[in-house]
Symmetry: C2
């Protein structure tokens, strides 16, 4: 059943129901869903004017747990149930653990989140914990945590749901199907997005490639990926041992889907470039203050790149550009509090308050 057919029936049933025939799920896999997907494609007219293009924001922060991870996680968890798993596991301190925990709760599975001890903010793990995941800090670093979840999966008693699980990419590719449908059956000219672990650019490119057949479109967009300057292994062509950026969701020194990102870039005639933290934060504030869209800092990296490319005269005039905003701004409350300050008080009188509003 296509997304359009479901829309006609008056109910969106989530990613697995909408796109099952295009997902590599075993026959008979259940539909585990929180009604993720079908996220809005929000026009960005002010940014569009600034860059001389027709810009749209694919706001993946409007998935149930607040990030694009839900789009792949629902498929991975549906697959885990089909395989008879009672436990899913991942190594993650961020959006992946939140999504895994929510879908495990939904499916009645146990969820294990293995993390390196120390340096872990409780706020980052709050969603996983409230959804009932077993969060397990281990004595070691992130590689040790990832090693343990791989070992757990190898016992056959747990399913690994980090992005090395191919069903994650399968689910994430559906963002391209939705964009093509939302643009009225055509792909954009350019698709901008943040690149961290690089599953997202890999998946979107896969989706656009499949869209050639599914929607009978005759071309694919150029993929423009943005890495944070302090965490830009693909741009630099080498691992980054100590990645640094305020955009925590893309603070990755050795992306799991490195090859996929390079293939997407090269096959599409696209680019992967670095943007500074200052550029990311400028784009983050711009999105909130002129378009009314509040996203995670990492999410703003794609807009930062688009603004840089426009400044360099490299955005084709009138091009249709889609920018993925990967997570909701509410995901990173600490960052926003650092970006703002509360103005001073005034008397509770009209003549004191009105001037603050230019009245």
């Amino acid at each position: 059943m296509t997304m359009d057919a479901l829309r006609r029936s008056g109910a969106w049933g989530g990613v697995v129901e909408a796109f099952r025939e295009r997902l590599a799920l075993p026959a008979g896999a259940p539909t585990i869903t929180l009604l993720e997907g079908n996220t809005p494609l929000i026009p960005a007219p002010t940014i569009g004017d600034r860059v001389g293009a027709d810009v749209h924001l694919k706001f993946e922060g409007m998935n149930p747990t607040g990030s694009f991870k839900d789009r792949g996680m629902c498929v991975a968890v549906s697959g885990a149930v089909a395989s008879g798993s009672k436990v899913i596991v991942c190594a993650s301190t961020g959006n992946t653990s939140a999504s895994a925990a929510a879908y495990a709760a939904r499916a009645g599975l146990r969820c294990g989140v293995v993390i390196p001890e120390g340096q872990i903010a409780l706020g980052k793990l709050a969603q996983a914990l409230i959804h009932g995941a077993s969060v397990i800090p281990v004595e070691g670093n992130f590689d040790d945590a990832l090693g343990i979840v791989r070992e757990l999966a190898e016992t056959g008693e747990a399913t690994l749901v980090n992005s090395v699980n191919p069903l994650r990419i399968e689910g994430q590719k559906t963002v391209a199907f939705e964009v093509v449908e939302q643009l009225g059956g055509v792909p954009p000219d350019i698709h901008c997005l943040p690149v961290g672990n690089a599953g997202n650019i890999t998946a979107a490119w896969l989706g656009y490639t499949e869209a050639l057949e599914v929607y009978g479109v005759d071309r694919r967009p150029a993929m423009w990926g943005a890495q944070a300057a302090g965490a830009a292994p693909i741009v630099r062509g080498e691992r980054v041992e100590r990645p640094q950026t305020i955009a925590t969701a893309i603070r990755i020194g050795n992306p799991a889907s490195w090859d996929g990102a390079v293939a997407a870039r090269d096959s599409s005639g696209g680019t992967i470039e670095a943007v500074t933290d200052a550029e990311i934060l400028d784009a983050y504030r711009l999105l909130a203050s002129v378009e009314g869209v509040f996203c995670e800092p990492a999410s703003a990296a794609g807009v930062a790149l688009l603004l840089n490319k426009a400044a360099a005269g490299e955005v084709p005039p009138g091009a249709t550009v889609v920018v993925t905003l990967t997570g909701h701004g509410l995901k990173d409350p600490d960052r926003v509090v650092q970006e703002i300050e509360l103005p001073a008080s005034v008397r509770a009188e009209l003549d004191a308050v009105a001037p603050r509003l230019g009245l």
Copy 2:
């Protein structure tokens, strides 16, 4: 254009576009939208089994700013633009200010948020500030703040967007239209929701009443409203001078839409009852851990009431019940951190980690 027709066209255009003919907007009012509305109606099978009914969660936390306020704010701001206003104002420290600020940014209006000084957590105002609102603390209490925004509106130079603006209720009523459509053209038997300022129950009841004509349905649900026990003026029949509850979004001692709530209750054969903070938090954790849905504490009040009614044998077996979840859990990060704790570390070895997962 109905929601179904828009779904057929492949694009959801937000509340004003979908329901314009049913909203009291002036002719020619623009469509200000962040593609709010069309929120998922998520089945809650585990809670349904527990109460012996067919339970669905209308997850309004999946609006762009994370709460149901967007549904009315888009209409109020569209109306403000139509009236020639350049400034909108509200008195709010919470979800209303976040929504007002986002839609003002979207519309290119200035937004003034007037609040009583002191006791204001920066986190609660973060969204309003990042969206560029002018937040103005005044020397005084909440009534003083509300008095000032009323005075500002009376000058004719600003539009008040607190819930006394009738376009707010107009927009919020559309939740009932969506529920009827999502249930396949029939209303639920019971609609549960939290009651704070009482605009929501008033609006939902108005929507169900209009649905009699719009969708040709022949009945309306019983409206079951939940107030926090420490902030239950309607249940007690008198103002509460110092309302107390962890459910901050419904910590209201003198609801603006008191009469509307009583009318909805009585006309529908419904009820408005108190639930304790402990019951609210139990429901909050239950929603996250068995249904995979993370909402604000206040949002869980409707589920808490439903569980109480079931325990009293007052839920008709097999009834179709819709419960509004008014906001996303990410709206209240402090609460979730209070509800959880990080377990102790273990060695990074399979034999230490596996037992934590029951393996």
